[in-house]
Amino acid sequence: MILLFILIALLWLLARHYAGFGARRHRTTLSIPSSNPPATQQHTLMVVLGSGGHTAEMLSLVSTIGREFPYASRVYVAARGDDLSVAKAAQAELARSDTSTVAYRVRLIPRARNVGQGWWSTPWTTLRACVNAVGAVYADAPHLILCNGPGTCIPLCLAAAALKMLGLVGTRLLYVESFARVKRLSLSARIFYHLRLGTLVVQWPALQTQYPRSIYKGILI
């Protein structure tokens, strides 16, 4: 799977190169926030939204991220057609106090598979979703991708891992498992954990016991 992504990433980059795009700046280092005034905060935080429950939990988490973190912009990623999540993100941004200094954008990406879609066309739409995920991560070069399990999040995480392996981005991945998961991880969280894509945070202690590399600090939402 990862090999497939690397292949897609390479194809994508070649296409970009021949289309005349220049090389990207590579962001990996980060200074301590106290010595870092807001004016020099230039990193991008990518927030992956999903269906109803996922989006509500994610926006609740994002609402607690203050100016002590070096993010000059937030990019919300939603599946194309998920107008409700986009509206909720805009609503949450309006309620924030730092919108004058932190810009936000919305990026729409296609779904890997639409509800009711025939199986014959699924490989094609999945491939399209993966190529778009690679493009999104490459274009925004986020410092951190924050996700909690909607269908769009695993392609984005794999794309980030592949691009990171190629040294093209310095993206870190943080997956916060839903409050709804008490004793068993969701499928995407298990994929994320076992492929060691980044840091997994759980909200119930029984999961931390089962998945010792995960972080538990109580209910976060």
């Binding site: 109803g52 609740s60 609402s63 607690t64 409050f179």
Partner: protein, 165 residues
């Protein structure tokens, strides 16, 4: 006193039917409830004509916050969104019953409802045992559910982006 029942965005006819069964309606009236509002989704139940309290239903609403806040007793399906909304609604003590939909595949909702039950925040049941759950929730004092600890996620985030390589 007022009861609010919600199935969220799911379909859960057995919950609605259990609420509207004659023994449950009688019990609610006996507990002092005078009105019952049911958010039933696409399901259209028949309301008994001789119900001992006033019963109204509706399909969906953009927000259920007002209805939850108005109620003295909330009976909800065990979806995390509805549970959190009911657990954190302001306005004093509110009785809360979470009804688990046994027909769901990969039923993590049961685990969540059970965990919250064990911690004393609500009483969890299946549609078939709603009567006992209603009796039980009126015999105990529920433990208030804490508000969001707004410093926790930032501390996790700091650990991830400032410490880890």
């Amino acid at each position: 006193m007022h009861v609010f029942v919600t199935v969220g965005t799911t379909t859960f006819p057995s919950l609605v039917d259990a609420v509207l069964s004659p023994p449950t309606l009688t019990q609610l009236a006996k507990l002092g409830y005078t009105s019952l509002l049911i958010q039933a989704g696409t399901y259209e139940p028949t309301i008994p004509s001789n119900a001992p309290l006033s019963v109204r239903t509706f399909a969906y609403a953009p927000s259920l916050t007002d209805e939850v806040e108005r109620a003295h007793l909330v009976v909800t399906h065990a979806g995390a969104g509805c549970l959190l909304e009911a657990l954190r609604a302001p306005g004093g003590e509110r009785k809360l019953v979470a009804v688990v939909n046994g027909a769901l595949m990969d039923n993590h909702q049961r685990e969540l409802a059970l965990e919250l039950h064990l911690r004393g925040h609500l009483v969890s049941c299946e549609p078939e045992s709603l009567d006992q759950a209603l009796a039980a929730v009126h015999h105990i004092t529920l433990v208030p559910f804490p508000a969001q600890a707004k410093d926790r996620f930032p501390s996790v985030l700091a650990q991830v982006i400032f410490d880890a390589a």
